[in-house]
């Protein structure tokens, strides 16, 4: 929660809302990559692509 709050504050302060979708996609893909690297979820992630 704190992260999302900080991120939204940052985007508001910088007036860079256009970065939000980009950051969300990167976060999702990134989290998927990090999870895939380190857990049993890896084999399921493979089928997603």
């Amino acid at each position: 929660m704190e992260f999302i709050q900080d991120l939204l504050l940052f985007l508001k302060e910088r007036k860079k809302w256009w970065l939000l979708p980009l950051i969300l996609v990167i976060l999702l893909v990134g989290i998927l990559l990090v999870v895939a690297e380190s857990s049993a979820v890896g084999s399921f992630v493979y089928t997603l692509f």
Binding site: E2, F3, R14, L22, G30, L33, V34
Partner: protein, 613 residues
């Protein structure tokens, strides 16, 4: 008010602690982990800072990180977006690191701090000043000035690569910024890479190589012209525009397009093990001079914007001591003060100072004409742990002499130095910043024509062409060197006075690089570079009375209060931190003697088991 500053995760991780505006302790993580330029979370440096200050984490008002991770991520995204599809692979590679570590820095910092000791997560404030604000704060607040122009120049922080600020009391105003990808630091690093040195640590080697270049050679003149016409556009205010088609650092993991540089300069990138030739020397000199030109323009712009008489400098480029010396000679400002840890390690200190003065609005210590860096002796001391080493040294059947009287030790050490011995000198608190200033130093006789070669080859194992720096009694400095005042942090290069120079042989220009270096060109050949310059440390009795005393004793014997002072380490290792590190370094090199506090270690066979004076 208790504030801990932290820099980490890029290079040169460090920690620093302030109590009520006073700098209590600061240290770089590499000294504890023994990994040069260690970027990892500075767990050991933080533990040391807490111990030295007698603070616990839960007592701190704030922990301050030296840059803004979100702003850096914004730069990353916008840069890749601007250059797309170039750099897509590098972008994909960097995403997991950002998602895993850097983007969640606040949460990760708390987690890492909790591994040191428990504290209440809700009550500990975490702050993130901008990278260049941290540099500016590290330059201005500890300086002796109430008011000053501030110039910070480095590779890159978030967006800024150079800033001009104005400091007045506790106020610090950013007046002008130069933004990525246009960066003087990255331009200099690109040449460092092209000339076969390591980026982020080999810049000073290229700076040491530059004086071997020939300013009247055709190559040098061609290189300066080509750099200015093709690589960098220099504006009147010192801002620059780098022609990005020649560079790769914005989107890739390499600094430059080697092929395009090869075509431009007519030489291939030098491999690290390849011989250094005349053309490499001329190219190093050309970029050094272009860098100096840009720094002087930036300083003039800082003067124009602030009309200040004083200048404070920080950022990695402030380690370019040759440019610093020329900046002082240009007399744009009456006084210049350079943060002794101007690189990212000093950012930890700057971040803490910025929080203290700007965020909390607190005053620093009263300025009485001196800086508040305490001679930059802000690291750990180990006065109680020497006993074990002396015992171990006895078992290795070499003598240790323990002196009750420091004056006797200083006399004995000065005598050894005057006889041409190389002495490791370990005293008191470790220096903060890249220079050894007499507490973690290797010393030798600057008058000896062979000492440069002995130190480079037998002890430091480093490149033969690199010069050594002198330390000199403050009161004698103006007699030997063209100095305008004290230089306690070894951050300025100045020429040796004409009276102490010796004439060069008629065939000097035809000699090879090493032959040129070994020509005896002054009464201190070991510390005189080929252009008669020297990176000077002036020593007074205020901050390091022991080192001052040693120089005085050396002067009594030789009439010269000048010694070689080089950092206590070997090539590619950090400077020693503990007596154990110093002892290990002493035993594995051809150093003749080692002084730790009041003990003199040698390698000769003992004539008696121990001498106690």
């Amino acid at each position: 008010m208790k504030i801990l500053g932290v820099s980490a995760f890029y290079h040169d991780a460090a920690a620093a602690i302030l109590i009520n505006g006073e700098i209590i302790a600061a240290a770089q993580e590499e000294r504890f982990t023994r990994k040069k330029n260690d970027p990892s979370f500075p767990e050991n440096a933080i533990k040391y800072c807490l111990q030295e200050s007698g603070c616990r984490l839960e007592e701190l008002d704030a922990v301050v990180f030296y840059d803004k991770p979100f702003l850096k991520f914004e730069r990353l995204l916008e840069t890749y977006y601007a250059f797309a599809p170039k750099g897509v692979i590098s972008f994909i590679q960097s995403v997991p690191i950002w998602v895993k570590e850097k983007l969640f820095l606040k949460q990760n910092l708390r987690k890492l701090l909790l591994e040191i000791e428990p504290f209440d997560k809700k009550s500990l404030k975490l702050l993130f000043p901008e990278h260049h604000l941290s540099h500016a704060a590290s330059a201005f607040y500890p300086s002796p000035f109430e008011e000053a122009a501030i110039l910070t120049i480095d590779g890159v922080g978030e967006w800024a690569t150079a800033t001009i600020c104005h400091g007045q009391g506790k106020e610090l105003t950013v007046l002008k910024e130069l933004h990525f990808p246009h960066s003087l630091g990255l331009l200099y690093s690109s040449f460092t890479y092209f000339l076969g040195f390591k980026v982020n640590s080999g810049e000073y080697k290229m700076m040491g190589l530059a004086p071997y270049g020939n300013v009247s050679s055709e190559n040098y003149q061609r290189f300066v012209k080509q750099i200015k016409e093709n690589l960098v556009e220099i504006k009147e205010d010192g801002s620059i525009r780098l022609e990005q088609s020649y560079f790769q650092y914005a989107t890739g993991k390499r600094m430059i397009h080697e092929g395009k540089w090869g075509k431009l300069f007519g030489i291939k990138r030098r491999k690290p093990t390849e011989e250094i030739t005349t053309i490499h020397r001329d190219l190093a000199l050309a970029i050094q001079h272009v860098t100096e030109e840009i720094i002087l323009l930036l300083a003039r712009e800082a003067k124009r914007l602030t009309n200040s008489k004083n200048l404070c400098l920080a950022g990695g480029v402030a380690l370019n001591c040759v440019a610093n010396g020329k900046l002082e000679d240009a007399k744009i400002f009456n006084q210049i003060w350079i943060q002794p840890a101007p690189g990212d390690a000093g950012g930890a200190l700057g971040a803490a100072l910025a929080a203290n003065h700007i965020y909390y609005g607190k005053e620093g210590l009263e300025k009485n004409g001196l800086d508040s860096m305490k001679g930059t002796y802000l690291g750990p001391s180990f006065e109680k742990t020497i006993h074990e080493l002396t015992l171990r040294h006895h078992t290795e059947k070499a003598p240790v002499v323990q002196f009750d009287n420091f004056e006797e030790l200083a006399k004995q050490t000065a005598k050894l130095l005057a006889e041409g011995q190389v002495v490791g000198w370990f005293q008191g608190r470790m220096e903060f910043g890249p220079r050894a200033l007499g507490n973690r130093s290797i010393l030798g006789d600057a008058r000896s024509p062979v000492m440069q070669s002995i130190l480079n080859q037998k002890i430091k194992n480093r490149e033969r062409f690199r010069p050594f720096a002198p330390c000199v009694l403050l009161e004698d400095s103006a007699e030997y060197f063209e100095v305008n005042g004290p230089s306690p942090y070894m951050l300025q290069v100045k020429k040796i006075r004409a009276a102490h120079r010796k004439p060069l042989p008629a065939n000097y220009q035809n000699l090879g690089m090493m032959e040129q270096l070994y020509v005896e060109r002054s009464c201190f050949p070991a510390v005189t570079h080929v252009d008669y310059s020297a990176r000077i440390q002036t020593v007074d009795g205020n901050y390091n009375s022991r080192f001052y005393k040693l120089l005085q004793e050396f002067k009594k014997i030789t009439t010269f209060g000048v010694l070689i002072n080089t950092s206590f380490n070997v090539k590619d290792e950090p400077i020693v931190c503990t007596p154990e590190d110093a002892y290990q370094c002493f035993m594995k090199t051809e150093m003749d003697y080692l002084v730790i506090h009041n003990c003199l270690f040698s390698k000769e066979q003992p004539t008696q088991s121990s001498i106690h004076k």
